[in-house]
Symmetry: C2
Subunit: 426 residues, 2 copies
């Protein structure tokens, strides 16, 4: 542990120490709870917290056999996932105090693997754009990003080693970038969504956060039920496709600087070539928005119809806009999205991963969760993405880039992401 | 109404009378409630019922403007859909008395369109194989089929004009066949699943029941948000592909007789040709089972881990079997399923619909919900299906066939199904 407090360890390190009984789940949890006690009033990462239940669970784990790869790791869960033992309000007062019947499947899988549920983390209103109360741990005047606001802030601030989030447009990668941690959005369709408040089934994806690629690989191995994710980090030089994307002019000077630095670092070490994104790639952003708005307007029908006056004006407008999209347009958009998925797959014959911007810049002021622009195309395509933090912008806030892999090749993407990240932070 | 009681009307007829104010929502509901009072103790279709709330709603609808295409229609909802105003237990004592925060999206859409929620209908244990208490209205010693047991029984018995169900293997088409009503499973991915207890995201699909194709088209138009479904019943002679499927030898004499009768009726009126199912089509049944078992084992992790002793032995065994399937097999199965979907699509260049068996025979005894064999391939392929009842078997119980359409062409399938059904019942 080399002088670091347990709550500052990477998750995979803490898990290894606990597995060797060199660290107790209780000691790790107590360090996390101490950090939470010191910082929560400033950061406001949690929508619900049950320290007593978590302590009882940690002690029980310490007294018993190893349960699985997350044994003893304190876990934060975005308040968009149902939990049987903690209230779940999906980021809206409409559902304040709701107690679900069951844990969401992703939560149950983590608990089965030995995780310790510490609390529910704040999300934006129904995982859309209205900000959560959470502050960016690096600067209280800045947004942590959304919609997985509390999960990222808790991990970035040393309150928890790992946490769960979801992404529909940019709700994992963007907040991970703003808070300077690793975020992992798995391939669409590989993590069960039972017990998650669904908004847009074409894209909603559960994933998670940690301090290193190994951390999210460990968590991802449980979410996907695929142990290759945590044993796939052999070193190799991946073929990197450079994909600044058609929206590159909207990347600010900070992002352009980290891009140049990343390319300069990686080009001597690995094959780096421009990725030939298919013509019309810029259609993906409006396509992603139409699908998301239309599906959200239908999936959130209960709130839209029965609690209209309790929705924020922005969400009301988004749902109205989605409802106004003709179903024939929606159906054509689904077909177009499926077609794009087939076309993009061929790109990965030439590249093991794509390097792409995560955000337009550093974290914005707290009245916005920032622009998911650079995440929208990859969310639409259902591709696995990992945000890699490795630099600071002009205001001293975290900046980084994301890597994007072939659909279903999450274990290969994580291995390559680890290789790339090690070099970028070296 | 020509002497029929309101609860015996087809849903589209009742909706038209209500829209013209020739029938009140209250009178229709009262007729349904009277039938429920007379028959529920024998049929046991309902897991929860709120007559007072339904009456208040019906009176409010009668006093106000038309809300939508389902204005005033009493609706039953399978107890796998969340409802904010009625308890939801997903067919298991584990969740007895649970009260969800919100209506499932499909329920909210029906209520927005003017439906009157009457009750929650019985489902099998977590929508799997352990029977619900519901009896077949035609013979109390027989199963109504599952998992949408209560919804089918209520519609078949004249308790309700329409009801919601879900299908993963054969949970809409099979019970519709056993009870002799029309069942409609939409194309995968076209009805939002928010608020449904998910079991297998590769296949779980919400749909519904009525007494005619027009009834399910009316209901489907709301579920899919596509009014072409209810205005698409122009008469035309569809090109019918005959698809007895490789499992034909398992169809009993009753099914073979209705098949022969259907072909004899339709062949003089429309183009009927053998559908050339791709080689290897018989792989689809084991493929469907593996995907379903593996996804169910992960989606139902909360119940599998925390309430193992309260699951039926059959469900425990199914989840254990699913969990033992290697993730690499599962991922290969997902790729194979996607490939099959592409291959099957071409079949619909030559046929407007496929005619196929719905079940192996009449409804079985009540200790089983029957075999979903003939539904599994179409569920795996995500294709829209409509069960058409038109005959009786050797025991006097309903028998019929299903028609299957191209993915996404639900409005064309329903128009063709209406054409076919009119001729089969003529």
């Amino acid at each position: 542990m080399r002088g670091r407090r347990p709550n500052e360890l990477e998750a995979w390190e803490a898990a290894a120490l606990i597995a060797r009984r060199e660290l107790s789940a209780e000691a790790l949890l107590l360090a996390c709870l101490e950090r939470i006690a010191a910082r929560e009033s400033a950061v406001r990462a949690f929508a619900a917290l049950d320290a007593d239940a978590a302590l009882a669970r940690a002690r029980a784990l310490d007294a018993g056999p190893l349960r699985g790869p997350l044994h003893g790791l304190p876990l934060g869960v975005k308040d968009l996932f149902d939990t049987a033992d903690l209230p779940t309000s999906y980021g809206t007062a409409i559902h304040a105090g709701h107690r679900p019947a069951a844990d969401a499947a992703a939560v149950a899988l983590c608990l089965e693997a030995g995780a310790v549920l510490v609390g529910k983390t704040e999300t934006t209103e129904l995982a859309t754009m209205q900000p959560a109360p959470t502050r960016n741990p690096h600067d209280a005047a800045r947004s942590p990003g959304g919609s997985s606001s509390g999960s990222v802030a808790a991990v970035a601030d040393g309150m928890l080693p790992i946490a769960l989030g979801t992404q529909t447009a940019g709700s994992i990668i963007r907040p991970a970038a703003y808070c300077g941690i690793v975020g992992y959005k798995p391939s669409l369709g590989r993590v069960p969504r039972a017990g998650i408040k669904l908004q847009c089934e074409s894209m909603d994806t559960a994933g998670g956060f940690g301090r290193s690629v190994r951390d999210v690989a460990l968590l991802g191995s449980v979410l996907l039920g695929d142990e290759r994710l945590r044993f796939g980090d052999e070193l190799f030089a991946p073929r990197i496709g450079l994909a600044p994307t058609p929206w590159w002019p909207q990347a600010d000077a900070d992002v352009q600087a980290v891009w140049a630095r990343a390319v300069a670092t990686l080009a001597p070490l690995a094959s780096c070539a421009d990725a030939a994104l298919p013509a019309g790639f810029d259609d993906l952003v409006p396509l992603q928005k139409r699908l998301m708005f239309h599906e959200a307007a239908r999936s959130l029908s209960h709130e839209r119809v029965r609690h209209r006056e309790r929705l924020s004006p922005g969400l009301r407008a988004m749902l109205d806009e989605g409802l106004a999209i003709p179903v024939t347009q929606y159906q054509a958009d689904l077909v177009a999205a499926a077609d794009w998925k087939r076309r993009i797959d061929a790109l990965f014959d030439d590249h093991d991963l794509l390097l792409a911007p995560s955000t337009t810049g550093e974290a914005p002021p707290i009245d916005s969760t920032g622009d998911p622009l650079f995440c929208r195309p990859w969310s639409l395509l259902g591709l696995p993405c990992v945000h890699l933090p490795f630099a600071r912008g002009a205001s001293g806030l975290p900046v980084g880039l994301q890597v994007v892999g072939r659909h279903g090749d999450d274990h290969r993407l994580l291995a390559a992401a680890h290789w790339v990240h090690q070099r970028l932070i070296a």
